[in-house]
């Protein structure tokens, strides 16, 4: 993918995600991603929760020491009660879709899943190479990820912005049961 199309795609992704109440950043490197995280207001308490064994996750594990260097305390997600309303959580996405500003999360383990369900601000990392223009690509990925076998992903979510409701008098309110903020960092 050329630089130009990546930039265009990212712009569209950002525009759509912002329209859905989310936040998108572009980082040239993991270091830059760590800088964005460390400077984010949601990390004012200098702590973040991550899925178990995140340090071994390619290529994202390397960001943990960088965050630690920047004074961020990292906790590993455990039972739901301990993750509930944690100020910030960090996980990684399989891919991102510019058309809708969505990320695709595919985690089997409950502790990894609840990082994106129960924290107050959810940060997600996605590789620029997995940012696709249209939902059709998500359809293909779903087909691949749900294929039977030891690597089958049982629980996949397309996440687009924070949790929201307009049930009461159609007043849009952000943050119901899920996170109140979603911040996606697309890393080159």
């Amino acid at each position: 993918m050329t630089m130009q199309t990546t930039t265009n795609l990212f712009q569209r992704f950002q525009q759509r995600l912002e329209a859905a109440g989310g936040e998108a950043h572009y980082a040239e490197s993991l270091v830059e991603a760590a800088d964005i995280l460390a400077a984010h207001p949601a990390l004012v308490q200098r702590e973040i929760v991550v899925p178990p064994a995140f340090e071994a996750r390619q290529p994202w594990g390397a960001i943990l020491p960088m965050l630690a260097e920047r004074g961020i305390a990292i906790s590993e997600a455990g039972d739901p009660a301990s993750v509930a309303d944690f100020p910030a959580g960090l996980s990684s996405a399989e891919l991102a879709i510019a058309e809708t500003g969505s990320i695709l999360l595919a985690e089997n383990a409950l502790p990894a899943r609840i990082v994106s369900m129960l924290t107050l601000t959810h940060f997600a990392l996605a590789q620029a190479g997995t940012l696709y223009p249209m939902l059709e690509e998500a359809g293909s990925a779903l087909q691949r990820l749900t294929a039977p076998g030891p690597d089958q992903r049982h629980y996949i979510s397309l996440v687009t912005g924070p949790s929201r409701t307009a049930d009461i008098e159609r007043t849009l309110t952000i943050g119901v049961q899920g996170p109140r903020a979603l911040c996606v960092i697309i890393v080159e």
Binding site: R16, L110, H154, L158, R170, T173, V176
Partner: protein, 778 residues
Amino acid sequence: MSTELTPLTPPREAQVENANPTNEEQPFDVRLEHALSDQHMHAALERFAPSWRDSRAGVFSYEEQEYGPDYSFQHMRSTLRQAKDYATEHQPELVARFKEMARAAGAIVFEARTAEEANRYIYDLCQRKGIDLVVKSKTMVSEETELNHYLEARQIRAVETDLGEWVAQLAHERPSHMVMPIIHKTRQQVGALLSEATGREISREDVAEQVAVIRVEHRKSFLNAGMGISGANALIAESGTVMMMTNEGNGRLVTSLPPVHVVMAGYDKLIGTFAETMTQLRLLARSATAQHITSYTTFITGPAIPGHEMHIVLVDNGRSEMRADPRFKDALRCIRCAACANICPPYAQVGGHAFGYIYSGAIGLVVTPFHHGIEAGAGPQSLCVSCNACETVCPVEIPLPGLILDVRSRVVEAKGLHWIKKLVFGAMARPRLFNVATRLISIAQFPVTRGSNFIRARNFGILGKLPLPYIRPMVKLASWHSLPAFASRPLRDRVKRQLERYERRDAIDRVLPDRVPANATSRLTVCYFAGCMTDRLYPEMGQAVIHVLQTCGVRVTFPLGQNCCGLPALNSGDRRDGAAMARQTIIMLEQALKESEADYILSASTSCVATIAQDYTRLFEDLDEQGWLRRARELAGKVVDFTSFLERMLAEGVQLPVRQENGEATIVTTYHDSCQSCNCLGLRKEARSIIRDALGLELREMPQADVCCGFGGSTSIEHGDVAERLLHNKLRNAESTGATILVADNPGCLMHMRGGVDVNGKKLRVLHLAQLVAERLE
């Protein structure tokens, strides 16, 4: 455990709920009366409808602009329709594939024939696991099977975790809308309910504070519940995957935290592939809430966690019967977006507790007889005004208006026709009797018309105040819109003389030859079908039509054998009389075409055009009368409406001799899109172009120009309260433009709107487009 359960007395909760005037246990009339008196709900729905229409149109046009015609609403809905039809047709294969893949992924699939079987399976599962607390995310099927009652009657608590559903549960009510369950509630009502439920004071005004309550209140339920029950937006056969779309985030918690996850879904949720599912999720979010996509779209393929269980309960409950019906199988395409409710004019007046049973909106009227019996569907279906708006926004092209009329016919078959309708349609189906009757009425009506064009409530005097049958209901109707008087000389009498005069002058070839271009259109002959309303009530409209056509150099013939096309009977579910009138009309038109060698059958009533050109074929398909079907199809190709015919003539170069304004003040007009014109015939630009470009008049668009005026055939008589509100909206919108002339091209709307203008003394002239054109001719 025992398989036979002795029925338990419903707990207090259920009793309270059943006594609620919004509950389906209450008779339809009670629900309707309550709905009509609920001003908060009415105001909320009236605010919502136009804003939804705008945002929905915006999101679809944005996508089309950005990504091209493949992503247009029309293209996507045709794609999804095909995918859903394939799934219905190949249901056994898809079910087999879905089950195989879901089971391979570790899920347990149970097929429930009835609501009872589905509920029982879930209850048994709770028993087996010792579960007494269940958390639920939104599932319409569980409303359909009344699962909550079933469980609660057996001492199992079921907590709704979707905000709106929970508030409805606290109020002992059912959701009134499939997507926005508590659209009928105000923030003050929500605050009061939450305060009562939590035992602490919750703001009556601050929605954010109210929303925050649910996060705290439900956290414990999520962590303690033994079972989570969710619905499904799609069951993807190729992988055995359940798709679920939510915004609040409760759905993911319900399906992740409790050790047992139960999915309840109808067989209609099956779809073949992920690729097709992507089209569905686009259409669903955009149609439902005008979002590009919902916040969370979750795909679950078997339990993800060792020790957790996933059960999928496939519910039939009447769906097989739908699938076996050549018409109603189309309703299985539904993806439950509620667009048909959002666009529906009567829905906006009464909400989903009356306009529906458990499923609301147009689709609710269609599926209720299959899930809950014809009796349950009888009342709600009577509210449909047959405006056809629902069909224009359905993301899977379900022919909802036709299916609602099918339900109506079944109701009439089961319960009989109202005696007044029986009398009237019976008379209309006998042309000679109808002719004599209308002429007699045109004389007998004098005391209440006093020579005017209206039957006015005040003219009934003391008679109107007495509790007399027939009279009292008529006075009530006339009190909010004056009723039309029968013309002393119907169009057929007037036209005889008019046509004879033209014939004598050999007008056909000599009318304004300089303005008639020398091409074929200038020699067109049309057979004019006026429709009974124009003939009997508004002959001057018919005369205007003939005048305008002749001015354009068109030869006009008027078959004197014409009678009613059958629309009023067909729209009331009276197929017997309706079909009789259809056959008469076909014979009469065939003969007229042959005798006059006319190129077209033209009508200036778009309702009649839609009936003859569209409804006849469907009627004879249903009656399986192949001979009539063939004749109806042939005739359909010959039928045109006045508006598009005139517009085409003008586009082809015919010049109208329009009078120049000499110092008159500019005439300001506004245009009402009749439902049959815009929704059935797809006319929008034609009349506007005639008014603006050909007549050179100012046309100011009124808000919601294409929303039903409330006439809706006999619905305005049966549900006067609803029709009155719609009429009030229409006239208010028309007046807001400052126009002095309100134009439409369908006599039914004109009658309804004229009646309203007469009662309210508004300064609006309500004219047929042909009358406006005729007035402006030199």
